[in-house]
Symmetry: C2
Subunit: 234 residues, 2 copies
């Protein structure tokens, strides 16, 4: 009983912190995206390619892109340990900070706000929080992000919506990554999409391969539109 | 401060429960194996193939196997939701129970003991606890198992020891699964083995493919030896 009460009070206080952070970021015009996934879903690789494309350094499909769309991007890397991911982002030229969660399995709004303050996000259009690799606990804690995004990789299997429903329910978008590996795994894309939509009918789904570039344009267009909506107060 | 104190007291009480469960299982001659991994590591597929082989129903490499080695096996399936895995195990003829953790991201010793009591394990040689898919929280809670085993799949990447060190430190064995997918992923087996051994020099490592059967014999021999050691009180 004691544990449950404490959990409830922690959650309620976290919800207030999250709402305050969201308001502050809206005022400053910075959209925070909370990226959640299993360990090894390809989150960092997807993020690196997305940053390259949105910063306008990659000219592969420049013809399809609005020319004024170079976004200023920052990254909060949350890990229980290590800084391998942060060093990778740093090399891309994105403003990056590493947050160590000291063994905690998720980020909460207070930790996120402290990370953002340390980083400084004046003039940043889009900030990514790479949450701890975990399909359970991060779904339970509002970080104060403007959008939640889940990444599910093909090798993990199409049954994940059945086993981790809350993650799908709390995510605005689902990126199905590593689709270049589809020929080698028994992954039923239609079944996966159907299961995700049964849990959350409005979820936006983007099958992508950061390796081949397939599907990246649609995902990045969704991000650009989300930034524009955020800044115009929608 | 309050949260930390509570966490410490929960952990200390869990450690006592775990030790009591371990003693009870030793007395009854049942070895409990705690299987931990990310979601989608192929834990259930590996377990299904292992059970088929150890129950002696699969005759593929019968020549290499001791004839008296048919083990009596039971399975505790822990999930925050769903019972897809339990139904799969049930079809194999292993005594199975589904434990719902009600949103909790790990199993503790009390939950494990209740699951085992409900299941009944009289005459069972080997019980598997398929822990919640999560590389963080399960490593922090002693379940009372005789052996901890971590499963890491090739698509997750060879950098996981750097990011989830506690999981490698608390595991007696590491199964590297889905090695049939090695040609399609940048996975450096030597680097992964080296990183795991740097964290835990005594860890036993078994690269396997439940799909092709490669490496399964060595993993199953380790399990048989562990059961024999357990029963003879080593």
């Amino acid at each position: 009983m004691k544990v449950i009460e404490l959990h409830e009070s922690v959650t309620a206080s976290n919800d207030r912190d999250a709402e305050a952070l969201r308001e502050e970021m809206k005022r400053r015009g910075t959209l925070l995206i909370n990226l959640m996934s299993s360990p090894g879903s390809g989150k960092t690789t997807l993020l690196a390619q997305t940053i390259r494309d949105l910063q306008g350094e990659c000219s592969g499909d420049a013809g399809n892109r609005r020319t004024n769309d170079k976004l200023k991007i920052a990254v909060l890397e949350a890990d229980i340990d290590s800084d391998v991911d942060a060093r990778r982002m740093d090399r891309l030229g994105a403003k990056t900070i590493q947050v160590h969660t000291d063994g905690m399995c998720h980020m909460d709004a207070g930790m996120t706000a402290r990370g953002l303050d340390e980083l400084g996000y004046e003039g940043i259009d889009l900030a990514f929080l790479e949450n701890v690799g975990n399909l359970i606990c991060p779904a339970e804690f509002d970080t104060g992000a403007g959008r939640n995004v889940m990444i599910l990789s093909v090798p993990e299997g199409d049954d994940k919506p059945l086993k981790y429903p809350l993650m799908f329910q709390t995510s605005d978008a689902l990126v199905i990554s590593k689709i270049d590996a589809l020929p080698y795994f028994d992954f039923d894309m239609d079944a996966c999409v159907q299961r995700a939509k049964a849990l959350h009918p409005a979820i936006q789904i983007f099958p992508v391969s950061a390796k081949t570039g397939e599907g990246m344009a649609a995902w990045e267009e969704w991000l650009r539109n989300a930034v524009h909506s955020w800044k115009s107060g929608v």
